[in-house]
Symmetry: none
Subunit: 221 residues, 4 copies
DNA sequence: GATGAATGAGTGTTCATTCAT
DNA sequence: GATGAATGAACACTCATTCAT
């Protein structure tokens, strides 16, 4: 389940158009991390550039050396998170023996990432009116990977051959999104903190649901 | 799959605190409909009270006779749409012979409503930072209905008895949400208009997926 | 220390221009009392017609049957309070044997009224920008009475003959105003309620101060 | 009659929280001066931030770099005027030979300041509902100085030893306030302009009144 | 590279007043 | 006499963006 690298991993200064120096690269990273925190906490609209620059320990004007606009950093952030979540999922699926197991591990990776980066959820669910193109990009890149994996597994006979992999991919992604929202983001432990890992019982339940949905007819555990 | 009626279907004037006159009730409805359109088109933040009142053909100040704030009409709208989508789903499921069929019909009703009221999607996905409580209410009310239906069906042996109905309910709701987003809201016909009905092939694909996920072991079509 | 009665004690409906019926008169009174409370509590600007009508148990529109505007009721209230405070002062001074005693009793009456009607203070001190003419009227009417009393006493040799009674009148009025503010309106008892009567020690202190300022040379207690 | 300097004469930017640059300090001062004019002319409520910033030749948003709110600049202004009027009074009293003379000079300084800064009056008399705490601060700071001066004079035997200096201080302050209102703010010369100095006859009359009230028994001019 | 003062368009909300019933 | 729905001007405040230093 490989994903082609993005065109240019080299960040350019918006003002000079040239590749960033090492120092510049660090500032840009700090801004992006600050944005992740601030967007996750306040949402796109209540987040402000001042808050982002404050959290990044950078002056207000510096922001515009690295990003053209508030929307630009939002898009950069979504793309960044998207790469990273897909990377997490691939890593998690690495040692899987079959697609059914891969699914479980992939979702585990997804939930792991979600717990560590709630911005992914919060930000994406707001993206519809901020940057619809980026929103689609995000979902489509994940679904693409999914579909590819499912199609390959279908070739291998690991999953039902009458399954529409495209539809299944969207359905699974939606299922993962709401399960994550419900059992990670909404959940609070005794101390009122969100859990860092998905409840194993939930992961089991979800995996069973998925396994049943994908498995070829006549094959049971 | 019954849902208990909300406590008080009587709208109160925010200013007098008394039940609305017929004229008042009509104005309130106009505002709510205008808000649905404006929120769906522009999103919560770019929507403005002026835009809503203009679309409702009402003066600006009139707004505040019926709603306490922008957030208040947002919440009222979510609750209103929630009631109506659940009603649509119930209606659609009415004649189903078994749960599997009910699921298909229910989703059909859901998609029908989504196509007619895109605000449901757009507005809900923004609700996280506008009114988290309302967001949860929305999902939980739907999931509650779902879970009840699934549990009953499980009793009847119509669906797998080892299924965790709670988790399944969230998974199905998420699947429906993304499928609707992808195949209704993002889809455009030749004229560039979004379709009014879900593509039957997609509904088939999704139903097959669900059927497989729910059906008791050993039972095939 | 007589004050000529105001021209017309007959209230007219602002809408018909005719004298009010008994019922109308009562409503007008209720509005005026409500206004006294609301203005005293919130000040002119934060007071609203709605709040006044609510407190008067009258519908919003009714207000405009009795007063032309918010400013109009404000002015009516100041004039009303002014008549009443002057009446209180005259009553209090009735049995005085000389002017020095009259002063003490007059101030006592003034403080009594102030404690019962804090609106007098609060409203007057805001009147500068609301209705300067009414503000002057208020002070001048009181000062007129004062001056007349002082002048008469001067004739009698009860107070120093080299005293400028006009200036003394303004000075005494100012003294009374701030003493009232400091020791009545700002004071709070153990339960946090403002006192209903001036602290006798303060009245003594103030009377001594005034006595010294007014008394003819060579005359001591 | 010394007054301890306020803790920190360093203005802080409300936005960075750091001490202001020279340029910033100038802008802040311009805003404060504009506010003095606008509040004096229109009163607190009819003054608007736009009007203040226009008069200060500064953009609207700039206001909020220096003050948190309309109320905040109002309070800053009262405090500022308070310091300055007390300074004027101290200066004026500097060369006085005794307390009686000091009183006359102090009031002269007070009236001088009042004529040049009518905002002091107008703004303070509105402060009750805008910022009661600041209102008290203003009066108490002046009264504190007064009381200290009177108490010292009492020690010296310059004023009557049976005088309650606290009460006398409030009485004198009130007298000064109303005399200033009546003979400075309400007075108009032939050209309709308010006088720049108090009528000497009034100052004489007032001083005589005060002298009599303060002087020890048996001491005449 | 970095700074932070300055800008001004935009928006939610209030409230005195009117008028049809 | 009384009601209360409707009106719309006015205003405090926010914040993305620019630019001189």
């Amino acid at each position: 389940m490989t994903t082609p690298a993005d065109s240019a991993p080299v960040s350019l200064s918006t003002v000079t158009g040239r590749p960033l120096t090492k120092r510049g690269e660090a500032t840009r990273r700090r801004l992006l991390e600050a944005a992740e925190d601030v967007f996750a906490e306040l949402g796109y609209h209540d987040a402000s550039i001042v808050k982002i620059t404050e959290r990044a320990h950078v002056a207000l004007g510096t922001f515009y050396l690295y990003f053209d606009s508030k929307q630009a950093i939002f898009e950069a952030l979504v793309i960044d998170l998207n790469s990273r979540v897909r990377h997490s999922m691939s890593e998690a699926m690495a040692g899987a023996r079959d697609r059914i197991e891969a699914e479980r591990l992939g979702f585990e990776g997804f939930f792991e990432f979600t717990a560590a980066h709630p911005a992914l959820y919060r930000v994406v669910r707001e993206a519809e009116f901020v940057s619809p193109a980026t929103l689609r990009l995000h979902y489509e890149r994940i679904v693409d990977g999914y579909r590819a994996g499912l199609a390959a597994a279908q070739q291998q006979g690991e999953i039902a051959d009458d399954l529409d992999v495209e539809i299944a991919a969207w359905a699974l992604m939606g299922a993962g999104e709401l399960i994550g929202m419900r059992y990670l983001l909404w959940e609070r432990d005794a101390a009122g903190r969100p859990p860092q890992h998905i409840d194993p019982a939930v992961l089991d339940g979800m995996s069973a649901f998925i396994a049943r949905a994908l498995r070829p007819a006549g094959k049971e555990d």
